[in-house]
């Protein structure tokens, strides 16, 4: 007799193998790597936030297709903002890379069932795209260094321009995300 359908996330995770298993390991480890980098760059530490991030990342291992990942990213950002004082530290690249890895792993684990066998083409494409997401981070770090070296004073015009740009980007992303596709 055929097996009953397993919809329990714990049981689905137990069936993970190959790339699916690797992805789940990465989802659990990547936020810890980000926390480690933050710890190396920071003067102080927030143990409670660290504990919450680790706990949430372990939950993300079981529920990769959930919004908990966003909470992990936000908390890592808060931890960085509060504990790190040096905006030019190169550890920010490592944090960005680990967060990119975390995001890509969760996206891939949300797309592909845990027990499915990945084809070579899929493995290569996802790896290529993950690296592509990581690459702009060092560029942005260089931009940050350049801005920091100028020691320019705060500008209300620049602030307003930045915020307007972000609003435009947000509106564009929202309209792009919610535009209805045509049914086939």
């Amino acid at each position: 007799m055929s097996e009953p359908t397993v919809s329990e996330p714990w049981l689905l995770m137990a069936r993970a193998r190959g790339v699916g298993l690797l992805l789940r390991v990465v989802i659990g480890v990547a936020p810890m790597v980000a926390l480690g980098c933050t710890l190396l760059a920071a003067d102080q530490t927030l143990p409670v936030v660290k504990f919450v991030i680790i706990a949430l990342s372990l939950v993300c291992v079981v529920y990769p297709d959930s919004h908990l990942g966003l909470l992990v990213v936000v908390l890592v950002g808060i931890e960085w903002l509060v504990t790190v004082d040096d905006p030019t530290t190169p550890w920010s690249i490592a944090v960005a890379a680990s967060m990119a890895l975390f995001h890509t792993s969760m996206a891939a684990a949300g797309v592909v069932p845990s027990s499915a066998v990945w084809s070579t083409a899929m493995r290569r494409r996802w790896a290529r795209r993950c690296v592509t997401l990581m690459l702009p981070a060092p560029v942005m770090w260089l931009v940050v260094i350049a801005f920091d070296n100028r020691n320019s004073a705060g500008s209300q015009v620049l602030l307003a321009a930045s915020l307007v740009t972000l609003v435009i980007v947000a509106v564009w992303a929202r309209s792009g995300a919610l535009a209805g596709g045509r049914a086939g």
Binding site: M1, S2, E3, R15, D65, S66, H67, G69, L70, V73, V74, V76, G77, L81, D86, P87, T88, T89, S92, I93, A96, A97, M99, A100, H103, M106, A107, G110, V111, V112, P113, S115, A116, V117, W118, S119, A121, M122, R125, R129, T132, L133, P136, A137, M140, W141, V144, D148, S162, L163, A173, R174, G176, A177, L178, G180, G181, R182, A183, G184
Partner: protein, 434 residues
């Protein structure tokens, strides 16, 4: 997962957009440009997903290699995905099968990179492990765009396919001659002399004998006219009566234990195949959840296929539906082979009624022989079964004393002894055997 016919943003896309925006706004407001470094991958992922978002829905077609197979045989469930935009990255197919249908891969989930691998590797092997009509599929097909940003899921309520698993007949053979039936046509030798083709004997000429029957050689040797006699030819009309009021025991499919209904259906398939192959007419009467289902008598492989398909559709009822009445359409002179687990006295009562009408009836006992062993873990249930089996043996004994032949199903030769007995008694026209 929400099943829609449109592309929807995924939690991954929401994470990319919101994380990118929140970190960027915080970087601007808190004058912390280093947060932009962390925000950058998310912003790139969000922009990438939006730019490569598919617009058209993929077109998915399902098909099954064979709609009718034997139990234990496999066929392929094909899934074809057409991507009008060319922006679909990964396609996942998940097939949730009904009971008694195995899949390969075992969890019924496959994934392909549509652009690189095509949709052929989405095919799955489905294998019914027990006879019956199975509604398979549809497979849930989920397509995703770049970086898993958007997702499309097929409608689950369309394109369900019917897969009929015909019962695999157990080995069977019957060498006994047929019992008497009215009529003088057919492929079997009658127990009576007649104008058939098979030689019977040489006897002295009698008034009324045809001249072409004179055996000249013997007549010359003996000096008296002698004629050859032949056995009459006639056909055999077998009615298989399947008692599906009870399904006793646990079924393990084609490779596991057999329930009483498994034994009944496979035995009926074997008997039907045997008699249909030799050219006899075989009819089927099934009494189960759908009432009495009848297949009129016929011969040939097409008719056999029809019989097997009807057998595969049998659904067990419960004993409360059994009114003990005789199903209509039993022709006189037919050999009725009744297959039943005999757990209800009404089954034997029905067999006795058939015999009372002068028809030849054989009851094949299809109760699994190890039924009491199955319940060995629970002593009370095992004891109850032993009591039930004793009651049943008493009822069978009473039926035998009333002249109804009851034989256990043993495969080849199961009914030979009874058929020979019936054939010997066929001259008297009695339908009962002792």
């Amino acid at each position: 997962m929400k099943q829609t016919d449109q592309w929807r943003p995924t939690p991954a896309h929401a994470r990319a957009v919101l994380a990118g925006l929140l970190l960027s706004v915080t970087a601007v407001l808190a004058r912390r440009p280093d947060l932009l470094v962390t925000a950058t991958p998310f912003a790139v992922a969000a922009a990438w997903a939006v730019l490569l978002r598919p617009v058209e829905s993929p077109v998915v077609r399902h098909s099954v290699g064979h709609h009718t197979v034997r139990e234990g045989q496999a066929t392929t469930w094909h899934i074809h995905v057409d991507d009008p935009d060319g922006r679909v990255d990964d396609v996942v197919a998940a097939l949730d099968p009904p009971a008694w249908v195995d899949r390969k891969p075992a969890d019924g989930q496959t994934v392909v990179s549509l652009a690189d691998d095509g949709s052929e590797p989405l095919a799955m092997v489905v294998r019914p492990s027990r006879w019956g009509c199975h509604q398979v599929g549809p497979a849930l097909v989920v397509a995703s765009s770049a970086l898993g940003g958007f997702r499309w899921a097929s409608r689950p309520w369309i394109q369900q396919q019917r897969l009929v698993a015909l019962p695999v007949p157990t080995p069977f053979d019957a060498a006994a001659p047929p019992v008497h039936v009215p009529g003088l046509v057919g492929v079997n030798r009658s127990p009576r002399y007649g104008s058939g083709t098979e030689f019977a004997s040489i006897r002295p000429f009698q008034l009324g004998d045809r001249l072409k029957r004179i055996h000249w050689g013997h007549s010359l040797r003996t000096g008296d006219l002698h004629v050859t006699t032949t056995w009459a030819d006639h056909d055999r009309h077998v009615v298989l009566m399947l008692d599906a009021f009870h399904d006793v025991g646990e079924s393990g499919g084609i490779e596991g234990r057999a329930s009483s209904l498994d034994i009944s259906v496979r035995a009926a398939a074997a008997i039907a195949e045997h008699f249909a192959r030799v050219g006899d007419r075989v009819a089927l009467t099934m009494i189960g959840a759908r009432g009495a289902q009848r297949v009129p008598p016929g011969a040939g492989f097409r008719h056999l296929r029809r019989l097997l398909e009807v057998m595969a559709s049998v659904e067990p009822a419960n004993a409360e539906h059994d009114d003990g009445r005789l199903p209509p359409g039993l022709p006189p002179g037919a050999l009725v082979v009744m297959l039943s687990p005999l757990t209800s006295p009404r089954s034997l009562q029905r067999a006795t009624m058939i015999a009372d009408r002068g028809m030849s009836v054989i009851v094949i006992d299809c109760l699994p022989p190890d039924i009491t062993d199955e319940q060995a873990g629970d002593p009370y249930v095992a004891l109850a079964w032993r009591v039930e089996v004793l009651k049943r043996e008493h009822q069978i004994r009473v039926a035998r004393e009333a002249g109804v032949a009851v034989v256990p199903w043993r495969g080849p030769g199961s009914i030979d002894l009874v058929l020979r007995g019936l054939q010997r008694r066929s001259g008297s026209g009695a339908g009962r055997s002792r």
